[in-house]
């Protein structure tokens, strides 16, 4: 019992969550991360490689891995799957032409066993742009209702530009992960 209580104490103290942000290029992943961290979003270059941000959110520490979405580097996404607690899939809701691409990449990702336990948050980003699809329409295109019933998922409309919806999405994800991992609290 001694060891167990030590382990439990450590886990409780850390309250760390590992979040993986992925999505097609130009969907707004980096902008979302910087915006939620209160940083300047006016000069962001397309991500060559990845960024890691550690932010304190409520009483938890989030390690956010923001991985570039260009076609060439999508094959490296797999290097970041291990021990992911939360998966954030970002969609450019105004990019109607590439919705099929978007669906295909998401489907591939969800087949990944190492991500099977992760909570899935889908951000229907760029809601500020006129002509963008609504979260409900995105959910329909991505056929989210057909997802494996054991997966915890949620779709949230947002705008990384205005910041709208970001907290709502992260609140859901953090709560969902917490209820799975830190059941003792």
């Amino acid at each position: 019992m001694g060891l167990l209580s030590i382990i439990r104490k450590i886990k409780k103290k850390e309250k760390e969550m590992r979040i993986l942000m992925v999505g097609l290029d130009n969907s707004g992943k980096t902008t979302i991360v910087l915006k939620i961290n209160g940083e300047d979003t006016s000069v962001i270059s397309p991500t060559l490689g990845f960024n890691i941000k550690t932010i304190t959110y409520q009483k938890y520490t989030l390690n956010i891995w923001d991985v570039g979405g260009q076609r060439t580097i999508r094959s490296y996404w797999r290097n970041y799957f291990e021990q992911t607690d939360g998966l954030v899939w970002v969609v450019d809701s105004s990019d109607l032409r590439r919705l099929d691409d978007c669906k295909m990449e998401l489907d591939n990702l969800l087949k990944e066993e190492r991500l099977s336990g992760a909570s899935l948050l889908i951000f229907a980003n760029k809601q500020d742009i006129k002509g963008a699809l609504t979260p409900a329409e995105i959910a329909k295109v991505l056929n989210l209702d057909a997802m494996d019933r054991t997966r915890h998922w949620e779709i949230v409309g947002c705008s990384a530009y205005t910041g709208e919806g970001l907290l709502e999405g992260f609140d859901w994800m953090v709560q969902d992960i917490a209820s799975r991992i830190y059941m003792l609290d």
Binding site: I44, P46, R71, T72, D100, G117, T150, R180
Partner: protein, 357 residues
Amino acid sequence: MEDEENSTHQDQDQALQKKHQLMLERLSARHQTRLETRKPDSPESSATSAFLSRFNDSKKSIDAQLESASDPSRLVDISFTISDLEKLVAENSYLLPSYEIRSSLKTISDLKQSLDNLSSQLIPKKKFSFKNKPTKTQTQTQIPKSDDTVSLPEKTTTNYLFRDSPGLRNKQNQVLVQNFKGSDIGEFTVSDLDSCEVKLVGCVNSLFVNRLKNCKIYAGPVVGSILMEEVEDCVFVLASHQIRIHFAKRSDFYLRVRSRPIIEDSDGLRFAPYCLKYEGIGKDLAAAGLDEETGNWANVDDFKWLRAVQSPNWSVLPEEERVGAVDLLLRAVQSPNWSVLLEEEERLRAVDLADSG
């Protein structure tokens, strides 16, 4: 040890000894019951090994049920048992080593797979079955089926969802003008053009450019990003927050960008600073935060050339070959192409109305 101690105390205090004995019995009894009635939802009592033994017992019983099940109605019970098992793993996940978690999850997904296989054997496929072939192997019959069902409705749903997004499409040998001033267009598409000249005046939130050949594209500031694919032998004069260029060949870019432009799967691209003029462009650029030259037009990242040396796929356009300032004299609209332009504008307006309606 304890027995010896007890015996030394025996004479002195019979009652105490008896009490002690009772206590020991009580403790061992409690320990026994705890072992037997260990509940899955009390993580305090379960160490990894205890979890594993529970897990394995449960798995064995499910396996047995799967083997013996011949009645479809039993499948639901089995499915519930599997969910319970999954819940058990989830509840214990915080104290299990990650290897155990992974292998448990793998076991569960295997169980689900066998349940699926079993249910497709037991329950006749009414909706989708192919009558000509009895089920040889499960996967073989399912592959064509799922292909059919996935691809067909897929297309209809996306078609249904696709509003006619504002844009200029499918033209040849034309001069096309779009003025965003006073419009509430958010995203705009320029696609499938051959030998056209396109003039976009005013600000827009995002611009998509696809499949152009031998075109000249002049655009006012894009507040958000430009995404470009499959262009050949074109000239672009663009200003934006971000620009991504994919599958481009032999094209010149006159850019002003707040961030580093990127190219991917492209070659023969040349870059120079933005050089567009039209009446009121200064205001538009300021509104988009693009009134200052950033010098980023020359900081191109090539995702297909991740090395320190200069990418062979792009270069700086030599000054003597640059076009100088491009002035979009909108009066030039009154050219022989006027009627075409009117048509285009009418169509766009109609799209707009449909959108806002």
